[in-house]
């Protein structure tokens, strides 16, 4: 299959990315991370930035008592300081053939999401690692940090070659960032495997991943609701397998039912493993879906640092 590449103009929407500056990524759960970043968290930390006072309790370190305040108020308070974290943002993009053909909108959408997420990671001063998954999981890029790395994110997205088969089981098994790189993991894929249940089986590997995982399932509306019927000869763009069918309206309805069942099964599997799952139909407005992604529960940050 011919590899598909994307240019910067399609992936880099400056206006949209500018709006993203007001947003930030954050972890759902408090995690003691080694690296300290510039982004504050709801928790208190050990930085020099004052955050608040709190009554002293006996179990606390007495060194934290603000003696000056005690002298003034004759009561014991402890000073609380801001905690700023630095975590990893792992973005894995499915580069199998099904992401590019027959609907290139899926590829563009996935790359735009990846760029946007990468941008948010970079402006949050997190370390951003980019992956491609297909038959296998690629080695991650060197963790990127700082706004200046946006071009490298774009280069990565532009350089991805779409094509080949999908092996979700093997890709997800191999995709295992080290524990030191704990963070948020975004998987951008259509989750089409060789079998219907392959994706569900593969998702169980995500439970072991060091971070909070978000599956963003990208699909085209015609994949949900085929726009053809009658005598057709289908060809799988990945396996090149052909199959002749006489598709009746009743068959189309059954196909749609099966596709929706597939989506709901993926969603249920993710939910059972506390993994976020986002359905992303390419014809829906990108901005709305992206904001929806950010505002889903506490998965992602909603305020500026």
């Amino acid at each position: 299959m011919a590899a598909a590449k994307q240019n910067d103009e399609e992936l880099f929407d400056a206006e949209f990315l500018e709006r993203l500056k007001a947003l930030a990524l954050r972890l759902r759960k408090r995690k003691q991370l080694r690296r300290k970043g510039i982004q504050s968290t709801p928790a208190t930390g050990f930085t020099r930035e004052f955050k608040d006072f709190r009554h002293y309790t006996g179990n606390e370190d007495y060194r934290a008592i603000d003696w000056r305040l005690y002298a003034r108020l004759d009561r014991l308070f402890v000073r609380l300081y801001e905690e700023v974290q630095e975590f990893h943002v792992h973005i894995a993009v499915d580069t199998s053939g099904s992401m590019a053909e027959p609907f290139p909108e899926k590829r563009i959408t996935a790359l735009k999401i990846a760029v946007a997420l990468g941008y948010m990671g970079l402006i949050g001063n997190h370390r951003v690692s980019l992956y491609s998954i297909g038959e296998d999981s690629s080695e991650p890029t060197q963790p990127l940090k700082g706004r200046g790395s946006l071009q490298r994110v774009l280069d990565f997205a532009q350089g991805l070659e779409f094509g080949g088969m999908t092996n979700l089981e093997r890709s997800f098994e191999k995709f295992a960032p080290t524990r030191r790189r704990y963070g948020i993991i975004f998987v951008l894929s259509d989750l089409y495997g060789r079998e219907v249940d392959e994706a569900r089986e593969a998702i169980r590997h995500a439970a072991r991943w060091p971070g909070e995982t978000h599956f963003i399932q990208v699909f085209h509306p015609n994949e949900e609701k085929p726009d053809f019927d009658g005598e057709i000869e289908l060809m799988d763009v990945e396996t090149q397998e052909q199959r002749r069918l006489w598709l009746t309206p009743r068959d189309r309805q059954r196909y749609e039912d099966r596709f929706h069942l597939f989506l709901s099964e993926i969603e249920a599997t993710c939910r059972s493993r506390q993994i976020d799952h986002q359905k992303w139909r390419t014809d829906y407005p990108f901005d709305d879906l992206f904001l929806d992604l950010l505002s889903r529960g506490s998965a992602l940050a909603s305020g500026a640092s």
């Binding site: 027959p102 005598e231 057709i232 289908l234 763009v237 397998e241 006489w246 596709f259």
Partner: protein, 628 residues
């Protein structure tokens, strides 16, 4: 193999349609999809492999062509032909539908129905390639179906054969069947009748019928083993001369030769529905008895003769129904130059006129030609230059030749004391005392040809009678006025009266009544005919319209046209009433079409079975083995 209807083979061109459909079949739409996994979960029967798909396309094409070919072969009637040169190629069914086929077989069926059943059963065994013709005959043959291979049409025609109350005449039927049978030989003629085609006559004479080569006859004799029939085989009626409202009837009663024992028949005569008289006749088998009787009645009354015989099997010849003929007086014209010279002829004519049977118009030569229609003309002492060929005539004392009268007047009449009689039995001389006649000859004439001399004076005929060009003529070479004793005797009026009665037309004799045999073709005018016939003891009247000028008398009874003309038609056939018997009435199915080895006959069932099998195979292929 042979196609009986090869003209249907052009339908094979319809095979172009599946060929074109196969060659230019719609290619399936190719669609690239991200994954097939969801399509694979659809019903398995909606999926098939490529090789099966290709195989099915080819098999479908072949089966379609095969089915079409088989269907066309069925229409074209493909048969397996036997090449035996002696095998019959044509069957001619010669079916008797005459009156005698209406005899009941004892089980409520007529012989005609029995014959049709037998023919149907036999036709079912006839191979399809054998052509069959159907000829029904009564008094004349009718080709109901020329040679055909279409059995359904033939059976339909056979079913439509109805009994006709007519005598049969098989000679013309044989002639017609030979004509058709000779078209494609060898041919067998199936003759279904109650009497064989080539039977000897009662006198032992050969019927004279012959068959060409390679044509044989198979008799399907339908006669019953025992049958008794007494019937009326002849009938005639006429007004009694010189008697008003009185008729003379002659009828002949016969018993069939094959009757088992003598019978006593009772002939009942009724006039106008009122019993008039009856006779009982003892009849031996084969005996014919003639009966003459007189009856009183008036014109237009219905005379009905009914013959009752115990055990009689054939009713159609037991009744005769006629309207009593009209007895209108004869209208004659008397042309005489000068009546005063000879009053005796007038006296004689007046005497005859008084009986009410004659009406007379009198006139001189200046009245000729006549302005009125008359039945006869009397030329007395004068002859027209142009002879009236459409009128019967009496010529008295001819002055010279005219037309058929080759006469010359004698300048000196010759008296004779007596005359010699040429033919004393002639109707003209009925009750005439020829021995006491003395006449004076006034003319000589030539009595050559059809004129018969009745009186001879010396060597010369002085009274002759005969027929010239269909019209009767009485020629008298004497003058009544100059004869010595003749005018004063009763013989002269009788002679004049007899001559008038004799010369008038036969229709006049029968009172305008047309008596025919059933099956006769008569020229009549009008729009419809009213039939009066006896059915189950009741007189029924039916009105039968007709369009052409020739009408076939196909019913028994009396008929009357809408313009008043009357007549009657009856079978009156001694042959038809002489019902035969047959010892062995069993008719078997022919075996000469059976084939001991190999296929023979139509392959329609095989081909239709093939079509059915193909349909089943195709259905199995495309529904059992999955369809896309």
């Amino acid at each position: 193999m042979q196609f009986l209807f090869p003209q249907f083979l052009w339908l094979l061109l319809l095979g172009i349609i599946p060929v074109m459909l196969y060659l230019f079949r719609r290619k399936s739409k190719k669609v690239r999809v991200s994954t097939l996994v969801f399509f694979k979960t659809l019903a398995k029967e909606h999926q098939e492999s490529a090789w099966l798909r290709r195989l099915k396309k080819i098999v479908s094409f072949v089966l379609t062509i095969l089915m079409l070919s088989f269907a066309v072969f069925v229409l074209s009637r493909l048969i397996a032909k036997q090449d035996d040169p002696d095998r019959y190629r044509t069957i001619v069914i010669l079916l008797d539908r005459s009156a005698s086929m209406g005899v009941n077989d004892g089980e409520g069926n007529s012989l005609l129905d029995v014959g049709k059943d037998i023919l149907r059963a036999r036709l079912a065994k006839v191979p399809e390639e054998v052509g069959v013709s159907l000829i029904a005959y009564d008094v004349r043959p009718e080709v109901l179906q020329p040679r055909t291979l279409n059995r359904r049409e033939l059976i339909s025609r056979l079913e439509g054969v109805d009994l006709r109350p007519m005598a049969d005449d098989c000679s013309s039927a044989v002639e017609a069947s030979n004509l058709i049978a000779g078209l494609e030989t060898p041919t067998v003629i199936w003759h279904a009748s109650d009497r064989p085609l080539f039977s000897l006559s009662e006198e032992g004479e050969d019927s004279g019928l012959r068959l060409p080569e390679r044509i044989t006859v198979e008799e399907l004799t339908l006669a019953q083993p025992e049958v008794t029939n007494a019937g009326i085989t002849a009938f005639q009626i006429r007004p009694v001369p010189l008697e008003y409202s009185r008729y003379e009837v002659y009828t002949q009663i016969a018993l069939n030769s094959a009757a088992g024992e003598p019978v006593t028949s009772r002939l009942e005569v009724s006039v106008g529905g009122v019993p008039n008289q009856f006779r009982e006749i003892d009849l031996e088998p084969g005996e014919r008895v003639g009966i003459t009787f007189r009856l009183d009645g008036v014109s237009e009354q219905l005379l009905h003769l009914h013959l009752k015989t115990e055990g009689d099997a054939f009713a159609l010849d037991d009744d005769v129904t006629v309207s009593l003929p009209e007895s209108r007086p004869i209208l004659a014209a008397w042309i005489r130059e000068d009546e005063s010279e000879d009053p005796y002829t007038r006296f004689a004519l007046s005497a005859v006129q008084e009986s009410g049977r004659f009406e007379l118009l009198m006139g001189g030569p200046d009245a000729w030609p006549l302005s009125e229609q008359v039945d006869a003309v009397i030329f007395d002492g004068w002859l027209p230059e142009e002879w009236p060929e459409d009128l019967p005539a009496i010529v008295i004392n001819p002055p010279g030749p005219s037309g058929p009268v080759l006469a010359r007047a004698l300048p000196n009449p010759i008296p004779y004391d007596a005359v010699r009689v040429g033919n004393e039995e002639h109707p003209v001389l009925f009750r005439v005392g020829s021995s006491r006649v003395a006449v004076t000859q006034t003319a000589v004439f030539q009595s050559a040809g059809s004129l018969e001399p009745l009186w001879l004076a010396g060597q010369e005929p002085i009274l002759a009678a005969g027929e010239v060009k269909g019209r009767r003529l009485v020629l008298m070479g004497f003058s009544p006025g100059q004869s010595e004793r003749l005018p004063l005797t009763a013989s002269f009026p009788l002679l004049i009266g007899n001559s008038l009665l004799w010369i008038v037309d036969r229709d006049m004799e029968s009172g305008g009544l047309h008596q025919h045999s059933t099956g006769d073709l008569v020229k009549i005018e009008g729009k419809d005919v009213s039939w009066k016939q006896w059915e189950n003891g009741e007189l029924k009247t039916r009105r039968v319209p007709f369009s052409s000028g020739v009408f076939e008398l196909d019913r028994v009874g009396a008929w009357e046209r809408d313009i008043g003309e009357k007549g009657s038609s009856h079978i009156l056939s001694a042959v038809e009433s002489n019902l035969p018997t047959a010892k062995n009435g069993e008719v078997t199915i022919p075996e000469y079409f059976q084939v001991e080895g190999g296929a023979s006959g139509g392959l329609k069932l095989w081909l239709l079975s093939g079509v059915l099998v193909i349909l089943l195979v195709e259905a199995w292929f495309f529904h059992r083995l999955a369809v896309y």
